[in-house]
Each structure stands twice: as structure tokens, then as C-alpha cells.
Subunit: 351 residues, 2 copies
Amino acid sequence: MESVKAQSYEVHIDELAQAALNQHVAKYDYSKIFLLVDKNTKKYCLPTFEKMFTGTIDSIFEIEPGEENKHIHTCMQVWEHLSQFDGDRKSLLVNLGGGVLTDLGGFVASTFKRGIDFINIPTTLLSMVDASIGGKTGVDLGSLKNQIGVINQPQMVLIFPEFLKTLDARQTRSGYAEMLKHGLIKDKEYWDLLKTQNAFEAAANIQKSIAIKNEVVIQDPTEKGIRKILNFGHTLGHAIESYCLENYDKKTLLHGEAIAVGMILEGYLSHKLTGLPKLSLNEIKEVFLQHFDKEEFDGHDIDAILKLLKYDKKNSHGNINFVLLQSIGVAVTDIKVPDDLFEEAFAYYRE
Amino acid sequence: MESVKAQSYEVHIDELAQAALNQHVAKYDYSKIFLLVDKNTKKYCLPTFEKMFTGTIDSIFEIEPGEENKHIHTCMQVWEHLSQFDGDRKSLLVNLGGGVLTDLGGFVASTFKRGIDFINIPTTLLSMVDASIGGKTGVDLGSLKNQIGVINQPQMVLIFPEFLKTLDARQTRSGYAEMLKHGLIKDKEYWDLLKTQNAFEAAANIQKSIAIKNEVVIQDPTEKGIRKILNFGHTLGHAIESYCLENYDKKTLLHGEAIAVGMILEGYLSHKLTGLPKLSLNEIKEVFLQHFDKEEFDGHDIDAILKLLKYDKKNSHGNINFVLLQSIGVAVTDIKVPDDLFEEAFAYYRE
């Protein structure tokens, strides 16, 4: 499959990925090559990686998987490992894992000795279509997502669709939610295609999703303008994800599951504020609820979620800015939402 | 005094600094202004700052002073404070302190929500002539200096020579050592001037030192080439500084005190390897020992210091690259040093 040219690097897919990696490592005279994995990618993805990589891995470091470990304490472990095993400025870090691992590994590399090279190999559908583009690296602060980080680009991103076979249905749907978002904010035709597919079928469209995200990010790398549209569903979605993460009695939602709820809620806000037709709103709700369980949120939950909203890193001056839809395929940014609409949105989600 | 134009910002000195700060804050519509201080700058510098600043400080956060607190745990406290007090992407962090505080505060700002604006107000002679230029931010990892960080530029740097009156003789000499280095690596005339002055008199040359460092950094922001000359005295100096920091029975050396030793040692290496005349070497030793106590290092100390050398972040592929002098005012980079010369250098320092 054709490579996608991102800001300063390329996303190589499938057969081209292997050649690109081996050529890069042969060309750059890295002093050490470190590989970052978690329990799952060590078991399911490392054997494949080792088979196709012709260079030498000097050291493999395993971190605990999951959003709850996307913390500065995990970074400390990796920094200390790099230091202990003589990592220097000419070392390379290869991140083999989902979005948590590539975000964290990218941040560790960007800050170790003020920045060493890194290569991301996303292993989940979500990280292939989302974390592969945009250069966002970082970790959470308490339950607040991605509060600590930098924008920095990897040397390259490698996509091996083969890794998708290692995913369960829930993880696959989590990526599917982001792909549906790409349709909603930028490409009605893509939405119309995806909605007829299940998550596993949809995964064949990785390249299309990467290309849409890339087109947006290249226009606005620092998220001053159009890049904000990628946050559709994420303002409420992040708050819901944080809330479920920090409350042990709530089911922990995967990122895609949380933003699926967020997109229905923000779809409702779009209908009320930016002209999204009722029929389109109902279609959005129907498509997501076909694939994602309806979650339960009582009054107490909603209050707590709305409190978390104000900590969202995209807020400025205490105002909450939403990305909403004018129609399917057309998003608008910087919309303020009156407080009373939030309750209504949750009521619409519930009904 | 005239401002110095650095890469993307200006260093304003004295009367211009106050005007620049107040104009900047009036122009940019910051959502919150945070001020970072330590115990000392809160007591000695904050009153002056408050008198001349016409904007509103929303929140002041105090960290523990000293190199032993230049750690990720201190960053955690500052990140959490920024988050708790509603810091967002449009917030400003003003760092009022010495190099430890401006390095740490710059790193916190560069990584909070993937980067917010920051302004540095160095309060020690060392930080005025050194940390004010170059965009190096970061913290230590264990006893290894500046292992975690990024290169990122502040909005501006403000130098108030008035703060120099708050420094004791030891701190003033620590900055003086860096100024002498600027002469040694780049400007014989400047060295010849400084060597006739004591540390307090030399402090009047702040602008000259900033201009020399800036001239070097602008040519090579990422330290691939000429910028390395700024590390003269630092390869051994950092190892000595780290060693004294982690050994409770050794006197903790200020940065300038450690590199003063480093410059005598690397002066010796320069005499042996890159043609620094014996007379110049003796002059260097004499000038530094006029101002700095001779430190004691026994065989055990020297072994441990040489072990730390290999962790220096400037090393690549396990080789130790030194910056040495050909003559006073002319430095050369990337020089390998045979192991047996280190003992000799310490012997020369001792004799």
C-alpha cells in the first residue's frame, strides 16, 4: 500500500514498512537500538518484528500495558533503563505498541538527553489510524489525559496490518470509532462506506483514515485552527474517559468507546447549535449504538463529568470550546455551549 | 543596556527589561500568569519583581532551591499546581530564579499541555550569563545532570543586574567561572580583561558574555558543531559536579566551582593534545586558583569521577569527546583523550 507523507516523515504500510525500517537503520549509524514493548506486544507482536528486522536490538524494555500506566512514573523507568544501558544522543527508540505505548515512548525519546530519534510501530487499529499522525506525545497527569507532553515527530511510522489479527473485537471497535470520526468531520462518502461495514471490515481502510488525518494536520500542525476538528467527540469523550478511569465502580472505557459516546452527545449539541439535521443526528446515534453498548450515566456521573470538562487541555480562559458538525462531513470549531444543553444531550443519549 | 537578539526571542537587560515584560503581557491576552520562585528568590527578588510588574500574577508557586531538587518529582509538583489552578494552553509561566529554577521551569512549561509560553528572569550571575541563551531546559536523572529535557525557547529573558546584589561571593564566583570560559573559548581579549577583575567587578560584563554565547548558539542551535565549544571544562566538570552531589562526604560544588576545576584539567589535556602552550596552561590554572579553592580528590574519587564520564550526555557510541583549546580564545571539538592522561591532569591540578 502506498506510503503517506506526513510533516517530516512517512507512514509506511505493509510490505513497504519492512524495507523502510531496515534501510533506515542501515543508513543511520545508531549507537544503540532500544525497543519498548508491553506484556501484550511482547507476546503477540515481538516475534513478527524480530523476524522482519535485520538490524540488532540492543535492549528490550517492557512496560505495564493500559491507560492507567500512561504516567510519568513509567517514563522514569524507561529513562532510567536507557541511561543504565548506555543510551546516548545517537540512540534510537522503537516503540512497539498501542497509543498508550507510542505516546509515552515518543515523549520519553523526545526528552531523553533533550531528544533522541524514535520510530513508532502502532499495533492497534486505534493507534494506526490516530497516533500515527500528528506528533502528539505525552502522558496523563492523575486522571487528566495527555496533560504532560510535547509535539515532536518520529523518524517514521510503520503500519503492519498483520498485527490487527492480534486484536479482540473490543479493541478493533475502538479504532473503528476514530475512523467513523474521520468520515463525520471531513468526508461524507467515507462515513457512508464505513457505516455499512463492521469494525473488522472497516480496518481495511487504514490508509484512507491516515490520509484524512494527515491532510488536516499538515495544514495546521500546532492546532491553532482546522486541526481542532479532530477533537470532535473528544471534549466530552475525554471527560467521560477520565471519569471512568478514576472511578473504580465504573467500567473502564477504551478511548474509542468513550469518544463514541462523545460523538453522540456532541452530535446532539451540533443539532441544537450548528444546524446538524435531526435525521443525520439520529443516523449518527444509530450507527454508533449498532456497534457500541449504551453506557449508563446517572445525575451524579454527569455532574462529575461536566466538572472534568473544565480541565480539558483544549479549553482556554475557562471557556469550553467545542467542535461541532454542520452536516455529516463538515465540522466547525470554537463553539461555546450553554450549560443546560449538556443535560439534554445526555437525555438524548439515554432515550 | 542594549538587548541581545537570540534565536526567536530577545534578552533584555536592566531598564529595557521592565518595559519589555509589561508590554508583552499587555499585548498577549494570557488566561493566567503563574510565577515560579524558590525560598531565596521569594525573599530577595520577588519584592522587586512585584514593584516593577504592572500585570497581575494569578498564582505563585515555591519550589525547594538547589541542584538536589532539580528532579522530575519537583516538576510533578509544578505540573499539578498549574493544573489545579486552571492553567491552560494560554497561560504564562514566569521563572524567577537561578539556573536550576529556569531550567526546570522551562521544562515544565515546554511540556505542560504540550507547551505553554514562559519567560525567564535569571537571578544569579551564572544563570544570567549561561542559562539565558540556548533554550536548554530540563532536570537531572538521579545524580546525572540534565538527562531529561527539551530544547525550547522562552518568550523573552529579562536580566535585572540589581539581583546581583542579593548574591554572596560564592555564587558570584560561580558565574564568573562561566564568563572566564567565554573568554577562553572565543575571545582572548575578553579573558585578558576578566582576569584582571574580581568576580564582582567582572559581573559588569554580563552583556558581553551573553553576546558571545548567543553568537555561538545562533550558528548551531542543535549542537552538532561549533556549539560544542561551550562545553569546555564541562565534560570533566559535570562528572565532578555529579560525583560531589551524590557523595555526602564531599563538599557540594556549585556549577561554576566544578567547571573551574574542569577547565584546569581540560587545559592540561589541551596542552598535551591540541597545542595549548605551557605558559597559557599555567596562566589558566593560576587565574582560577586565585578565585577558587583547590579541591581534594584522592585515587578513589578520581576513579569514580572517570566512571561518571561515560554517562555524560554528550558522549556518543561510548566515546568521550572533549572540547580542548589550541590557544586562549581558540577551541577545538571532538577530541578523544587517552585514558592515562586523566590521572596526569589531576596530578597537574594537585601540584
